[in-house]
């Protein structure tokens, strides 16, 4: 019930409403611009939030994340270039619809389905988050460490093509987080006598480096490969309107997609892309017209779009209740909480409950904001994006990353960290390592270490404490099972591929 006074409070605050609308526009533009991601935009804006109130900062970045997920569909449908990984599923049917002169219709289905999915995710978050927090309060260090362990394994093994590279990325994130003074004994680790390293590696410069500067390097590489210009697919007069009769068959797919996305969103690391493709596959399996899917079915746009956006709200649940970010955007938002001295975890609901519910309210109003702008102005946004000269945009982002990294703490060392992280981020992308697993593990490492060592002290040095406590054991097994399923999946995929090669 806390959500209603929070909604009222946000609606009556014109500054917050302005932040929400601005964030909806920024997120949509960023998400729809191929090569730019909501993560990059949020990381770049992170230092500015030092100068904002916690709620304003969190709401602004949270809504950019939400709107960015939706914005990806604009590029997928109108330019045949998915703005985000998740919108690649929307592109399968969205682009054929656009080519048939129904770009406006497809955009409206995408917008309505995004709103449905996102609102479903947020409502489930509001209902469920209090229960999860109450349970989380009862967990001891061994159980919390087991959850961290499961998160590391799931994030490392499930995202990306290679389990080994994913887990290696997660381990490298942990090792980088270990640089500096040990929080318990104050012993120096990996400092090599450097005073600056003894303060540790900052979250903000690392994120700006990996997501912003790393992306600029990646874009420089991409620009050499791309030939030709991106063109917008125009709608015919009939193709831009959407009737209730046309949307009616899409509704079950949107609702199912909403549940799939919300379920996947709670699990750390899985993310929108997996949700969107599972929803698309499930939608096609249950569709009355499966032969039309892939050739321009409106339902094929509704199913992945709802799932893609439904991930957004529930992905906040592990972050807010356990301090475990389930996505890169969650990891960056954790940075905002830390910047403002707010401790994330189960106690957040005791200390800053009002802030949390106001944030949820901002998220819901953000959905309405991007929904309205998208429904009536997606094609205008697309035209605006086509006018952005990328050869000017990326140099400006390059320059912004340096001044943003410096602004966080006024530290030149942070700028050096950002530069090195940018190059490392590009190398990781180039060699198919998992950047998301690296960053999320970097964020999780300190908490995991603390709970691990507390558990060892509790048991006087014995690691059996993790096996003797049933909840801890269950989470350790969940992590191992996730890895097992992923290995099985990869083996299966390889067998199918080998079979296809054999047939050819």
């Amino acid at each position: 019930m806390e959500i209603f006074p929070a909604l009222l409070s946000v609606i009556t605050d014109p500054t917050l409403l302005f932040a929400i609308v601005l964030a909806a526009v920024v997120g949509m533009i960023v998400g729809a611009t191929p090569g730019l991601t909501a993560s990059a935009a949020i990381a770049m804006l992170l230092p500015i939030t030092f100068y904002m109130s916690p709620l304003f900062a969190l709401a602004f970045l949270y809504v950019i994340g939400k709107s960015g997920r939706y914005g990806g569909s604009i590029a997928a449908i109108l330019f045949n270039t998915p703005g985000t990984a998740a919108s690649a599923a929307t592109q399968i049917d969205g682009y054929p619809l656009a080519r048939a002169g129904k770009a406006g219709k497809a955009m409206r289905v995408a917008t309505i389905s995004s709103i449905i999915g996102d609102l479903m995710g947020d409502i489930l978050l509001v209902i469920g988050v209090g229960f999860i927090a109450a349970i989380a309060l009862k967990l001891g260090p061994p159980e919390t460490f087991a959850i961290y362990f499961a998160a590391f394994v799931v994030i490392g093994s499930v995202i990306g093509n290679s389990i080994i590279k994913g887990l290696a990325s997660a381990l490298m994130g942990i090792l980088i987080a270990m640089v500096g003074l040990d929080p318990i004994s104050s012993e120096e680790r990996y400092t090599f006598g450097s005073f600056e390293l003894s303060n540790g590696i900052g979250l903000v410069p690392l994120m700006i480096g990996v997501f912003v500067l790393g992306e600029v390097f990646a874009q420089l590489e991409t620009r050499r490969k791309i030939t030709g210009e991106t063109e917008e697919n125009a709608s015919t007069a009939d193709g831009s309107t959407l009737t209730w009769e046309e949307y009616k068959p899409c509704l079950p797919h949107a609702l199912r997609g909403g549940f799939i996305g919300a379920g996947i969103g709670v699990l750390p690391g899985l993310g929108s892309a997996i949700a969107a493709f599972i929803s698309y596959g499930e939608g096609k399996r249950r569709a009355k017209n499966p032969e039309m899917w892939g050739k321009g079915a409106l339902e094929g746009v509704a199913a992945p779009e709802a799932a893609n956006n439904a991930v957004s709200g529930p992905s906040m649940a592990p972050l807010l209740t356990l301090g475990i970010p389930g996505s890169t955007i969650g990891a960056i938002l954790l940075g905002v909480f830390l910047i403002h001295g707010i401790q994330v975890g189960p106690t957040l609901f005791l200390t800053d409950k009002e802030l949390v519910y106001k944030l949820f309210a901002c998220g819901m109003l953000g959905i309405l904001a991007y929904g309205l702008i998208g429904y009536f102005g997606a094609t205008q946004v697309a035209r605006l994006i086509l006018k952005i000269p990328t050869n000017v945009l990326y140099p400006l982002i390059f320059l912004t990353s340096f001044v943003a990294a410096y602004s966080a703490r006024g530290s030149m060392f942070d700028v050096t960290v950002m530069t090195v992280a940018g190059f490392a981020g590009w190398l990781m992308r180039k060699y198919d390592f998992n950047v998301a697993a690296f960053v999320i593990s970097f964020v999780l490492a300190k908490g995991a270490e603390e709970t691990f060592r507390q558990s060892l002290l509790m048991s006087e040095g014995g690691a059996l404490v993790f096996v003797e406590r049933p909840i801890a054991l269950a989470f350790l097994l969940v992590g191992l099972a996730a890895m097992g399923f992923r290995i099985r999946g990869i083996i299966k995929e390889r067998r199918i591929a080998q079979g296809e090669l054999g047939d050819a």
Binding site: R189, L220, R223, V392, V403, G410
Partner: protein, 155 residues
């Protein structure tokens, strides 16, 4: 070959990390060793690098090869060198002068060839960034130890 190189680089990183963790002093009585997590993580990384190398051996046997885009890589290394010099020059020359020099250079890297555009960027980029971050947000700008254009302008 690429898979071998990846495995070897990962092995080198993990051996370095093991050595770094080993430098952490032993724990005092009743405490846990501060190097336990870095040590465990680096040993796990070494194990993964071993798996990668084993996988690479199989890949080589099947004769897989990867085409490399050396031109793009060289361009990115060039941009990285500019980035390193740029961030270092903040310490020597403050924010304005390095930004005025680097802005047209990076624009050129990304294909901007308009002389007027490049010339405008020399003035506009440092000015706009300075106004947003150091005037509006009130961040204290980095001071150039050798020469600081901002101090010179302000007299």
């Amino acid at each position: 070959m690429r898979a071998y190189a990846e495995g070897l680089v990962l092995a080198a990183i993990s051996i370095f990390a093991i050595w770094g963790a080993w430098q952490v002093p032993a724990a005092s009585l009743g405490d846990t060793w501060a190097g336990i997590v870095p040590f465990s993580a680096s040993v796990a990384l070494l194990f993964l690098s071993g798996l990668m190398l084993a996988g690479a051996a199989r890949q080589t046997a099947s004769g897989a090869s990867h085409a490399q885009d050396n031109g793009a890589t060289l361009q990115i290394i060039g941009l990285f060198i500019i980035a390193v010099i740029y961030q270092q020059s903040f310490r020597w020359f403050g924010y304005l002068l390095p930004t005025a020099l680097v802005a047209p250079l990076v624009l050129y890297f990304f294909g901007v060839r308009s002389r007027i555009g490049l010339a405008v960027s020399v003035i506009l980029c440092p000015l706009v960034f300075h106004l947003i971050f150091f005037v509006l947000l009130g961040v204290y700008p980095p001071y150039g130890e050798v020469f600081d254009l901002l101090s010179w302008i302000q007299g």
